[in-house]
């Protein structure tokens, strides 16, 4: 159980600055997701944590001990930071048990830690198999077990689910979350998939262009994003121009209570599509809209709408196709409050 603290971490590759002063705290025993688009520096951050790269500036402390920065560079193998790479990267020449025992010393390898972590990832009895005899999901589970086995200070997961198909991904994500939690491990998950980050992490750190834009619990990130970019990156967003006044904003959808911007004047407000409700007929507090399109997602659907003034918005509905045929005139209203930023 360790806390990881990064202060002002800078990493450059020639003219490119991959990390531009990253400040970050990973609380002990929690799973923190580092979320960002490709090229934001999240993989570099992971490589710096692991010790594969040297910092150009800043400091990384593990449990209060500086492992990088200020001329120090504790080599990877002395950091006790285990990595789970994208494709699992199991040692092809070693059996599952030998893979898992790789990070253990001789005595521990003969103990029951190997079986313990195998059970933890749901693969009890698979110790004698060779990696090529496993499915992609099983390989990934073994990779996690291998990382957990030596009880590292920190487990780094580098987009470990990206190569798996969607059905498998959700289950595995959950299982691995549970395995980490059961083992009391501290973890950092690097991902570009906001659904993954929000669903499994205790904390989410949003990274853009080598800087931390926002850090906090998933709900905060989703509901109170730091800026419109974060809002759009972590979920579907309806961004509307509005005028704020006394805790409320006048929008094309009517007046909506707001949080965030305290001053009055021109603002941008954020609504999540699930806050937009479609009602069959106009009632007080609703505005008229026309259905433009209907994107079916199975469990729900996104409905594209055009308001009378031409503003386009999106509503998420539990699918009931009959309520909103394309071209139909409907009425919409807004539930809850909106996040607002000065325009």
């Amino acid at each position: 159980m360790s806390e990881v603290v990064l202060t002002g971490v800078v990493k450059r590759y020639g003219p490119v600055t991959a990390l531009d002063g990253v400040d970050l705290t990973v609380p002990a025993g929690e799973l923190t997701a580092v979320l960002g688009p490709s090229g934001c520096g999240k993989t570099t951050l992971l490589r710096c944590l692991a010790g594969f790269e040297r910092l150009d500036a800043g400091e990384i402390r593990l449990d209060g001990r500086a492992v990088a920065g200020g001329g120090r560079h504790v080599p990877t193998h002395r950091r006790r930071i285990a990595v789970v790479p994208q494709e699992g990267a199991l040692f092809p020449h070693l059996s599952v048990a030998a893979n898992i025992g790789y990070g253990l010393d001789r005595a521990a390898r003969r103990g029951d830690r190997v079986d313990e972590v195998l059970a933890l990832v749901g693969l009890a009895g698979y110790g004698d198999r060779m990696p090529h005899q496993l499915s992609g999901g099983q390989q990934q589970r073994v990779a996690v077990a291998r990382a957990l086995a030596p009880r590292p200070s920190l487990v780094l997961l580098d987009e470990p689910f990206s190569a798996l198909d969607a059905g498998l991904r959700a289950g595995l994500r959950h299982d691995i979350r549970e395995a980490l939690r059961a083992d009391g491990a501290t973890g950092v998950l690097v991902t570009h998939d906001q659904g993954e980050a929000l669903s499994v992490a205790d904390r989410v750190v949003v990274l853009r262009a080598g800087r931390v834009v926002q850090a906090g619990p998933p709900t905060t990130i989703y509901r109170e994003p730091a800026d419109p970019w974060v809002a759009g990156f972590v979920g579907d967003a309806v961004l509307l121009p509005a005028v704020a006044e006394a805790g409320s904003a006048r929008t094309p959808l009517g007046a909506i209570p707001i949080t965030g911007a305290s001053s009055s004047g021109a603002v941008t407000v954020l609504l999540r599509p699930e806050q937009v409700r479609i009602v069959p007929s106009a009632r007080p507090g609703t505005v008229p809209a026309t259905v433009l399109r209907h994107d079916f997602h199975g469990h729900d659907a996104l409905v594209g709408l055009r308001l009378a003034d031409g503003t386009r918005i999106t509503a998420r509905i539990l699918d009931d196709a009959a309520t909103a045929p394309v071209g139909a005139d409907v009425a919409v209203r807004v539930d809850g409050t909106a996040r607002a930023w000065p325009a």
């Binding site: 080599p75 990877t76 193998h77 494709e87 040692f91 990070g103 090529h132 780094l156």
Partner: protein
């Protein structure tokens, strides 16, 4: 650091040539080199290298495709057969051809014999690459409307391009350095001129000045190859289940294909075999006691093994560096290792005499100095194999290993080496069998009184005792066949189909 040691070994002959050429003085160098004869010899050597390399690429890629990608009957048998000429030294093959077809001599016969002996250098890596290549790319090509031939030329050939280029480079350099075939078939090349310069008036200086031109020619080839090589071409397929490509149904075309492979085997293996057998029957000379033959075989084995071991030891760091830290410096180091590969054995032998006498006298005329000569000569064979295998193992594995608490040595021992082992094995096998066949450097550097199969063969044929020479030749080929078989097995060509 360790790579630098390897390269240092490879450049011993260059240093030697530098010293001796400088001694010759500018006037002598100009007189020796500024002649139409040198220009003519250069063109001829390069011409021979070009012809043989092209023919080897055709033959090597063709037979590799047939045994890996078609439903040819008996393809595993043909895979071994196609690699086996590697066990036949060019001097045996050339001698056999001259015996079989009287008056055979000149450029084209030499090209034929050299091609037959060296096309496995292309066949082996290409066959391995064809087996490992991702069939998805070919499938995409076909789905986009490209026919079989177009897919082959536009996708398959490009996938195997690095393997083909590596093999072709080895062939070209080998042709530059070969003496056996060109001497027996009387083709004027640079290497023959160098040997003749030694014999004619015992003209060491002239021979060495000529050799420095050979280094320049090699440099030319290497630069050409490096320039045309696509950068960062790494075709390793990471993850995903291994899937074999669909085999091409040959249909009636399998008869000409079979005839072609059998024909090549007949020329490359049959002619030498029949010719040696005829010599054995015709002569009355017999080799010494069985003990002598056995001793020669034992010495050959030990020397070739020592050479292979030392070469691998030196090649390992360089090969790993090439695979793991590619960059301009690495490229230069890697290319330097190739420079001595095209030098005739006699020049490398003399340079190691120079080295042994002046630097490592305790090693002089011991197994180790000869092993070092083999390392100097055959380093590229080993480096290529190691780098190839290391490039196939994803570097991510080593990072994972480090993150699990293993230090650099631990990672090397538990991950890098085991994964590179097939490459190390292949490199060792290649160096071993090339070392078995080597003659000029062996003659100069062997411990006094040590006879090998190759030297016995030379001794007997020099006095026309062909019948006595035959068992040594046969034994040489048979012993070399074992590592050849290992090489084939290692390329996965003997595996059962995965489907």
């Amino acid at each position: 650091m360790a790579s630098t040691a390897a390269v240092a070994v490879a450049v011993v002959p260059l240093a030697y040539l530098g010293v001796r050429t400088a001694e010759a003085g500018l006037d002598r160098i100009v007189a020796e080199l500024w002649t139409g004869r040198v220009a003519w010899l250069s063109l001829r050597s390069l011409g021979l290298a070009a012809v043989v390399t092209s023919a080897c690429v055709l033959l090597g890629v063709g037979s590799a495709y047939l045994v890996t990608r078609t439903d040819l009957p008996g393809r595993r048998f043909f895979a071994v057969l196609a690699a086996l000429p590697l066990a036949v030294p060019t001097y045996i093959a050339a001698f056999a051809w001259v015996s079989a077809f009287d008056g055979l001599a000149g450029f084209w016969p030499a090209a034929l014999v050299l091609t037959l002996c060296s096309y496995p250098y292309v066949f082996l890596p290409v066959a391995a690459a064809l087996r490992g290549a991702d069939p998805a790319q070919e499938e995409v090509s076909r789905s986009l409307g490209r026919g079989g031939w177009q897919t082959f030329t536009r996708v398959t050939l490009r996938q195997i391009r690095p393997a083909t280029a590596a093999g072709a480079l080895l062939v070209a350099l080998y042709v530059l350095s070969d003496f056996g075939a060109v001497a027996i078939l009387r083709t004027d090349t640079f290497t023959r001129a160098i040997f003749v310069a030694f014999d004619l008036g015992f003209d060491r200086t002239g021979a060495l000045v000529l050799s420095s031109v050979l280094v320049l020619l090699t440099l030319l080839l290497l630069t050409g190859e490096t320039v045309t090589r696509r950068r960062g071409a790494r075709y390793a397929r990471l993850g995903g289940a291994r899937r074999a490509a669909a085999r091409l149904r040959l249909g009636p075309a399998r008869w000409p294909a079979l005839a072609g492979l059998l024909g090549v085997a007949a020329l490359a293996l049959g002619v030498p075999a029949v010719s040696l057998a005829r010599r054995l029957v015709a002569g009355v000379s017999r080799p010494g006691a069985l003990a002598e033959v056995a001793a020669a075989a034992g010495n050959s084995l030990v020397l070739a093994l020592a050479g292979a071991a030392l070469t691998m030891l030196l090649a390992l760091p360089l090969g790993l560096l090439t695979a793991r830290a590619p960059g301009p410096l690495t490229t230069v180091l890697d290319r330097l290792a190739y420079l001595s590969h095209a030098l005739p054995g006699v020049v490398v032998g003399l340079s190691l005499i120079f080295f042994g006498i002046n630097v490592a006298y305790p090693l002089y005329q011991t197994t180790w100095l000869l092993a070092l000569a083999y390392a100097t000569l055959f380093l590229p064979l080993a480096v290529g194999s190691v780098a190839g295998a290391a490039a196939q193992a994803p570097p991510g594995l080593e990072e994972v290993a480090r993150s699990l608490g293993r230090g650099p040595w631990g990672v090397l021992r538990t991950v890098t080496l085991p994964l590179t082992l097939p490459g190390i094995g292949a490199g060792a096998a290649l160096v071993f069998l090339t070392g078995m066949k080597e003659l000029p450097a062996t003659l100069l550097l062997r411990p006094t009184g040590t006879d090998t199969l190759a030297t016995e063969l030379w001794t007997n044929t020099a006095v026309g005792a062909y019948a006595a020479a035959t068992p040594y030749a046969a034994l040489l080929v048979v012993i070399s066949a074992l590592p050849t078989w290992l090489l084939v097995a290692r390329s996965g060509l003997l595996d059962k189909d995965d489907r």
